[in-house]
């Protein structure tokens, strides 16, 4: 039943995105980030320029066994610095819901998430660091740390297609002992962003995100 619910949430979110954890007041973000060992699907609504809430589904896969997590999210913009040519942000992330684990220990239980996200960007440079910590009293804890760096070869204007070269490093010690490096291409046009790449161990990555 829980798996069906997770599947339904994933299906509902499959047309969406991932971006800043909090966007403009009244804005909605839908995102779907997919790798064979990890997926992250979000539907977030920013009810102010500092707070956002929504639903999130994650999947961690190890040796063809999945741990799936479905949480209600609450994100907070802790700090923002706008300069003429850059923007920097620090967000606090939290969530509560259920975890259905097949990895290490089979169990379905209440789960909580805490984390943070920080980014700094100009029109041609991008850096970001994100960390999720999943805890559940009945199952093994999970963590995911993701760092990204990117550059755009040219400054596109508001109405034009933007292109970026990115490098992503992901560390999920409970799934894979080594850091997974993924070079990728990022594009965005108006309110739609898409990214794709292949990791150094041959794992595909696809991310799709929409703001509206």
């Amino acid at each position: 039943m829980l798996k069906r619910l997770f599947g339904l949430i994933t299906l509902l979110l499959s047309t969406s995105v991932m971006s800043h954890p909090v966007i403009y007041k009244g804005g909605t973000v839908v995102s779907s980030f997919n790798m064979s060992s990890y997926s992250d699907n979000q539907l977030l609504y920013s009810f102010s320029s500092r707070w956002a809430t929504g639903l999130n589904h994650w999947r961690f896969t190890k040796d063809q066994q999945n741990t799936e997590i479905g949480l209600a999210r609450l994100n907070y913009l802790l700090w923002r610095r706008n300069t003429e040519d850059s923007q920097a942000n620090i967000y606090l992330l939290s969530g509560a819901g259920m975890m259905d684990s097949e990895i290490d220990k089979k169990s379905t239980a209440v789960a909580f998430m805490s984390g943070f996200e920080a980014d700094w960007e100009t029109r041609t440079l991008y850096t970001a660091l994100k960390h999720y910590q999943f805890n559940s009293p009945a199952t093994s804890d999970l963590t995911m740390t993701q760092a990204r760096i990117g550059f755009s070869p040219f400054e596109s204007d508001f109405e034009n297609l933007q292109s970026w070269f990115m490098l992503q490093a992901m560390y999920m010690p409970e799934i894979e002992k080594k850091i997974i490096l993924t070079p990728m291409l990022r594009f965005f046009y108006k309110n739609v962003l898409w990214e794709f790449g292949s990791s150094t161990r041959g794992e595909w990555m696809l991310n799709l995100m929409v703001h509206y």
């Binding site: 971006s19 403009y24 007041k25 923007q87 960007e121 400054e155 508001f158 933007q162």
Partner: protein, 92 residues
Amino acid sequence: MKYATILVMTSLLSIQAYAAEINVKVSGMVCSMCAQGIQKKFSNEKSVEKIKVNLDNKLVQILTKDGQNISDEKIKELISEAGYNVAEIERK
């Protein structure tokens, strides 16, 4: 005196009938996808006819509807809700 009063009133009414053109310099506006929020916020304002975002100049150009205006405070509020800061407001 009567003609002078009519002249002043006509002038005041004609000023009010024009649309206002406002240039807003914005800090932190580096991502076009994120700046979509600015366009959305101002497009929802009844007094705004047209909104143009220029990332090169970090400029938001607002054209109001005829006879309508938007205050500096409202502009700052909408830009702030979109996640940015107003550096300067220039009215033409």
